[in-house]
Every structure is written in C-alpha cells, then in structure tokens.
C-alpha cells in the first residue's frame, strides 16, 4: 500500500506537465496548427517562471504564492513565445513544422546564453521550496488523504483544474465549437463568418498558455524549480505530443494517456521498491526504455483508427477555396 501511495504521489507531478502541455497541443492542433514547438514553449515558460522565482527569492512571501506568480509569468511568456509560431503559421503561412523546429532550437540556446552571461551557469538554480508535506485537514482523510493531499505540489490541483476547464471550453462553449471547426474544415468555418485566423491564433495562444505553465510545472514538480539549458525539459514537449496523439486529440483521453506514461516512468525508477520487479534483476536500462516502448506499442495499436484534425498543418488562405 505504501508503495502504491508512493508511486501515485510521485506520478502526479510528472503527469501534470505532460497533461497540460498535451492539452495545449490539442487546442493548437484542433484549431489547425501543428505544434511541434511545445518543447520550446515549455522551456520558455520554465525559463521565465524560474527566473521570476529567482528574483523573488529575497521576498518573505508564501512559497505557494511565489509559485502562482511564477505560473502567471510562465503563462504570459508561453503565450508570447507561441505567438511567434502563430505569426509564422497563420500570417506568413509558413510551414508549421519548420517554424516549430526553429522555436525548439532557439530557446535552449537563449537559456544557455543568458544564464552563462548572467549566472556563469548553464541554468537557473532556485532554493525556494514548493513541496507540500501535508495539506491541512484534507491530508487526514483515509486513503485519499495520503494519495492526493500529502507530499505533493500545488501544481497537481491546478493541473486538474485546468483539465476540467479545458474540457468545458472545448466541448461546451461557442469558442470550443468554432475552434474545432477551424481544425477540421476552415473553409466551412469561414463561410459561416468565423474568423479562422483569429481562432488559430487563439488555439496557438492557448497552447502557449498551457505549454508555458506546463514547462514551469515541470521545473517545479520535477526539477525542484531549477531550469537548465542543456537538459531543458528532457523531451517532455515531444512526449506531450505523443501523449496528445495517444489521447486522440481529446481531453479526457489525453488525461489518461498522461497518467499512463507518468506511471510507467515513475515505476521505472522505483523498481527497488517493488520486491517482485526487484528480484527479476533486469538491467535498469530496460526500465528506462519502458515508457517509450510502451507508448509506442500503444500507438501501434491505436494508429489504425487514429484521426488527426483534418486541416492541421495546412495554412489557411482566405483567397483559396
């Protein structure tokens, strides 16, 4: 039981960044813009989030408040950075993969450049502690308390909140309906007076918002509020893409896909805790590969009926029918 609690406690902070970023990718792709830049957006958000935490280190305010401020900074940064993608993809009708790749290349270099110039370091190191040992009251609930309200980060709750919000916006609002139309059939959306360009900008901006926050949450929940230009976000942006596809571009499925991946990843580093696995004495490398192999296997079995947004990747041109 302890082991299960431990696994879940440790899985959630990994799952949440994946979830948020994959949701971001979903908003972008369902509006018609392939967002391969998620990795870069995450790092951009993480960079500015951590930087703001760094500048707040002297202040005597509650760490959770610092986290929230950092989150807002990361979100704004993510939106701004994502606008480089939507500008290229929507206004300039540029190839989305190329622009995305450029954005992925840009930010690690900038992080390194900046941190070396300012800190003589490869990254930003923070000592603010965001970890929550126990949530008052709630942590005493049997079973649920230890599972969700002990040894955790506030990011977990915020992440779940954003998931619910995303589901609502995506399916229940006028905006969501229009956004999804733009990713499937922009001409149809245009013909009923929807501004496809604006919807696509919005979709990408949401991916910037969620991607930036996801990046910062990765830093907080996984990297102890540090960020580094070399390791970046450890490919989580790309993994989020896989999670998004595995989740079939749908929010709830993405949630489960993120949990799946995070669980395997946590498991891979907790083998020692599980007597059965430990006794097998398998080379650790196999466990490290496990999340990637498993994700791929799942994709193999789901890909036949996998259905990407129909118009994704194709620049929309009003003057073309």
């Amino acid at each position: 039981m302890d082991v299960i609690i431990y696994l879940i406690q440790n899985m959630l902070p990994v799952a949440i960044p994946l979830l948020l970023v994959a949701l971001g990718g979903m908003f972008s792709e369902r509006s018609g813009i392939v967002n391969i830049a998620l990795e870069g957006i995450m790092l951009f958000g993480a960079f500015f989030g951590c930087l703001s935490v760094y500048f707040m280190k002297g202040l005597t305010i509650d760490p959770q408040l610092i986290l929230l401020i950092g989150m807002v900074v990361a979100a704004v940064a993510g939106i701004l950075y994502s606008m480089l993608l939507s500008f290229a993809a929507v206004n300039m009708k540029a190839d989305q993969t190329i622009s995305g790749t450029a954005l992925n290349m840009f930010i690690p270099a900038v992080t390194l450049l900046f941190c070396k110039m300012k800190f003589n370091s490869d990254g930003i190191t923070n000592s603010t502690k965001f970890y929550i040992q126990k949530v008052p009251v709630l942590s005493d609930i049997p079973v649920l308390g230890p599972l969700f309200f002990q040894k955790t980060y506030i990011t977990v709750y915020i992440g779940i909140l954003f998931l619910l919000l995303a589901i609502f916006v995506f399916y229940k609002t006028k905006f969501g309906l229009r956004l999804r139309a733009c990713g499937e059939h922009p001409q149809a959306a245009d013909s009923v007076g929807i501004n496809v360009y604006r919807m696509r900008h919005s979709g990408v901006a949401i991916s910037g918002f969620l991607g930036g926050i996801g990046g910062f949450f990765y830093s907080v929940g996984v990297m102890d509020a540090n960020v580094n230009g070399h390791t970046g976000v450890a490919g989580f942006g790309f993994l989020a893409l896989a999670v998004m596809i595995f989740g079939q571009w749908k929010p709830v499925q993405i949630f489960f896909a993120a949990l799946f991946f995070a669980f395997l990843r946590t498991l891979a580093y907790s083998v020692a805790l599980i007597p059965f696995l430990n006794s097998l004495n398998i080379d650790q490398t196999y466990y490290k590969m496990l999340p990637y192999v498993a994700t791929m296997l799942v994709l193999i079995f789901t890909s036949r009926k996998s259905r990407a947004p129909k118009a994704e990747g194709i620049p929309y041109d009003k003057s073309k029918r």
């Binding site: 309906l177 229009r178 499937e184 959306a189 029918r321």
Partner: protein, 514 residues
C-alpha cells in the same frame, strides 16, 4: 420598374490581374428561381462568392431592395438574408448535423452553448420543409443527399430569404435531384428568391424562371426560360452550337476482354458487403455502363477491377489473364487504363508539372527511362504531342504546374494520358463530372472513338443522359447486385430509374449472364 430583391450591378472581380468577373450584372426578382449558366471557369462561383461576401469586388455595387449594401464577409450576407449552398459542401465532417447548422450563429449564454432551443428549431424546420434529418447524426456518416439537406437547413435556420445553390445537383442521384427541385419550387412559392447554378440545361428548363449567362467572365445576357430553348442557351454560353446527341455508329463487338466473376467486396461504412457476388463481361468494341444510385456498390466494383482495393472474393480476368491478385502496375501492363473518379486525389500529382503527370503511368517504360534514369526530353516531346492532340490548355505548356490548371483541362490531361497509353480496356469513372457542355462533348467523342478502335470501355456514371447516350449496354446496380442489364435503345430514362431505385429487377440469377 421591376421589383428586384438583389441587384449586382457592373461587378468586376480580378484575381491577380485576371478578370474572373468582368462588368457583370445580375438582377434577382423576389420569389423567382434564377439560373446562372456558364462554362467551367466562366465566373459563376466567383460572382456568387462576391454576393456572399467571401470575395470583395473591385468594381460595381450590390443593391438589396434598391438600396446599396456592402458585403464584406459571410456575416454581412447573413444579416441581409443571403445564404449559400456551396459547390463543395462546407460541413465539418466530425460534427453533428445540429452543430453544423448552428456553427457561426450559436445560441449561447456567456459563451456557453445552448443547444436545446436550436434543436427544437431545426426539427421544426425540417418538418416544415420536408427536409428529414437526424440532428444528432455525424456528418461523415450520412449520405451526400442528406448533407445537402443540412446545407439547406443552415440557410433556413438563419432565416435567409435569398438562397444561392452552387451546382447542387452535380452530386445528387436523379431521385434526389427531383426532390431538391420540388423543395426549391416550394421555397419560391413562399417568396424566397433562388439563384441556381447548374451545367444541366434540362434542370434549368424545368425549374428556372429566368437565366443569366456568363462566358469567360463576361455577361452574355439574361433570358426568360419560357422564351428560350436548350440550344439557344448553350449557344449563348459557349459561342457555338453544341451537339447534345453523341454521334456513334453501331458497335462492332468482339471478344470478351474483361470478365468479372462472383466478385464480393466489403463495405467501408458497415459490416455488410458493398458488392455481393457480381459477375459481368465487357467485350472489345463496346461501352458498358455501370449505372446506379451512388452508394450501391459501383465504386467498389471499379476498385476491385483497378486494384485500388483488395478483392475479397471472386476473380477478375482481363484479356484472358487472371488479374485478381496482380498489383496495380501489373494490371496496367496487362492493358488497363483508368480515368479515376477523383482527379485531385488519384488522377494527378498536383505538385508535379503537366509533363511529369503525363508519364505517371508509364515513366517506367523503356521509352521514358534508361537504366532507371528518366528521359526528360522524351517526356517533354511526348507531352507536347499530347497537348496538341487533346487541346490541353495551360499556362506554361508541359512545365505548367498541374495545380494551376482548370478542372476541365486537368481532366483532359488525364484522359489524354490514359487513352494514349497502350490498353485494351478503359475504365472511365464519372469522366465528365463538374465539366461544362463543351468539355463533355469532347470527352464523349473520345470515349466513342476508343470503342470504335476496338477497345472495351467500362463507364461508371450517375448522369442518366450520359448513360443513355454513350453506352451500348447498361448494367444497373442496386444494393451491391446487378439487378438489370438493359439496352439503351430499348429502354427509357424512366425505366432505368425504376431499376436504379430497386423497384424493378430482371437479373436475379447469380452467376454468368449473357
């Protein structure tokens, strides 16, 4: 002074210096059905797009009830009561019918969708106008005819008074066309005004009150239908006389070329079989037509023969050789030519030049390659020859991008390619879909010439006129089976229609029919 709801006066619309509409005037009376006629590329869709706010005209003005209006986007058009059913449907395939109808004018409270009232209104409308639809059905699961009803409901939902139909009948079966025409008449009776684009003169003659004719972007005039004839209309449109009756002699029938035996094909939509145990022959020197309402298995039969789909059961023999399991290349080598149904999807590589497309089926032949290297000069010369022979018009000759060519010329290029390569059997799937009468005439001549050269032709078409005019033998398909084999000389369009709708069948016995 007539009572016009909409007047488009002296409209000029340019694309990159090219005048798609050149000083065009169109006046629509309240409650009339007004046809718009013109060759491919004459500017009909462009003019309607200007009216609907998708394009802005450089010159000219638009009046609504005598007052000048500006229409900058579909929202403006909508506000003025103008709605449009587009040539290519503008429906989001993964949405439900209801979602498609409300898209753009969603009833909402603070941005949150309120579908309940909308559903009620849609159901009411569909009852009122006899446009039966299920509001919760997903678009990709419903038939084309049903999709068109959704498009019409979209206009009604928005309380549009001026309804534009851009080639609505091109994709419909004869029965559906009849229904649509009835619905349009109903609208007109109610006082709605209708602009109706079609290439089919019969439809214009039967339903329209007046007709405006365009030619190469220019206004040719507006005529009262009751005072005119099909011939006159087509002369106005093309600038010369067009013959509607294809000239052809008695067929000179030879050996069996294609023999299809007991073919069964699975359906893509459901678990049933789309084609059930079908058998037939095509002989040298004859044009056999596979007729039927869309979705009765004709496409699947063609796919089985051409190899685009794997055959589930049965055999296909071409010129005495079993080609059932051969790959497409081998089938081509055995003597199969194929004018595909979808010219953009299958027929052409749009990003290739014309010349590269012209060798698509034969780049591997020694004539066009040597040790794996393409003979560019041969390819160029060959294409230039075909351009002359088939009158393929394009900007830069052999090097023009296929994407930049008009639909008619793209089709001509495909036909040239498929006819010029050595073949025994030509499969032509809807070769004239969406083309104007001039182009149709040309293609029909080519089909007949192919037949007369002793080749077999298997034609698949939904156009009853085409079926009756061109073929030597008609095979009618219904629900995956061949239910009738008719001689066009001994039958009527009405009888054909009965077979197509499954009301009549003459060929129940399975197996081989002579």
């Amino acid at each position: 002074m007539d009572n016009y709801v909409i007047e488009m006066l002296h409209i000029t619309k340019e694309f990159a210096g090219f005048k798609a509409n050149d000083d065009i005037t169109l006046q629509l009376k309240k409650g009339e059905i007004h046809a718009l006629l013109g060759e491919n590329g004459a500017g009909k869709s462009t003019l309607m797009s200007v009216l609907f706010g998708l394009y802005q005209a450089e010159k000219g003005k638009i009046l609504k009830n005598g007052e000048e209006v500006t229409i900058n986007n579909p929202n403006d058009a909508n506000r003025l009561g103008i709605g449009m059913v587009h040539q290519h449907f503008k429906l989001v395939e993964i949405f439900t019918v209801l979602e498609n109808i409300i898209l753009g004018v969603e009833p909402n409270a603070m941005g949150v969708l309120q579908k309940k009232d909308a559903r009620k209104k849609v159901i009411e409308l569909s009852k009122q106008y006899g446009l039966q639809v299920d509001p919760d059905a997903i678009i990709e699961n419903i038939s084309v005819g049903m999709q068109q009803r959704v498009e019409i409901l979209k206009m009604l939902y928005r309380n549009n008074e001026i309804l534009i139909f851009d080639e609505p009948t091109a994709v419909l079966t004869p029965q559906e066309i009849d229904e649509l025409i009835e619905i349009m008449r109903g609208f007109a009776k109610e006082g709605k005004s209708i602009l109706f684009i079609t290439h089919k003169l019969n439809e214009i003659m039967s339903v329209a009150d007046r007709c405006t004719v365009l030619r190469k972007g220019k206004y040719m005039g507006t005529v009262e239908i009751k005072d005119t004839t099909k011939e006159e209309l087509s002369r106005m449109m093309v600038g010369r006389d067009v013959s509607f009756k294809v000239q052809k002699d008695e067929p000179n029938i030879g050996e069996v070329l294609l023999s299809v035996k007991n073919i069964t094909m699975p359906s893509k939509i459901n678990k049933k079989n789309a084609v059930k145990d079908v058998s037939f022959d095509v002989k040298a020197g004859e044009i056999v037509c596979l007729a039927g309402i869309e979705g009765n298995g004709q496409s699947e039969v063609i796919s089985a023969i051409t190899g685009l789909e794997r055959v589930k059961e049965g055999t296909v023999t071409l010129a005495g050789k079993d080609i059932t399991k051969l790959n497409i290349r081998e089938k081509t080598k055995t003597g199969l030519s194929h004018i595909p149904e979808d010219r953009h999807k299958h027929g052409l590589v749009l990003d290739y030049s014309l010349e590269e497309n012209m060798v698509l089926q034969r780049y591997w032949q020694p004539r066009f390659q040597h040790n794996g290297f393409i003979k560019k000069k041969e390819m160029r010369d060959y294409t230039e020859g075909l351009i002359k022979q088939y009158d393929i018009r394009s900007g830069h000759g052999p090097t023009s991008s296929a994407r930049g060519m008009s639909g008619g010329n793209q089709q001509k290029a495909i036909i040239a390619r498929e006819l010029d390569k050595e073949h025994e059997l030509l499969i032509a799937v809807q070769p004239t879909r969406g083309l104007d009468v001039g182009a149709i005439e040309f293609i029909h001549k080519q089909l007949v010439a192919t037949r007369d050269a002793g080749k077999g032709v298997l034609l698949m078409s939904f156009e009853l006129d085409e079926v009756m005019n061109i073929s030597d033998r008609i095979l009618v398909m219904y629900e995956g089976e061949i239910v009738g084999e008719l001689n066009p000389k001994d039958t009527t369009v009405q009888e054909l229609g009965l077979y197509m709708s499954g009301a009549k069948r003459s060929r129940k016995e399975k197996g081989h029919a002579k």
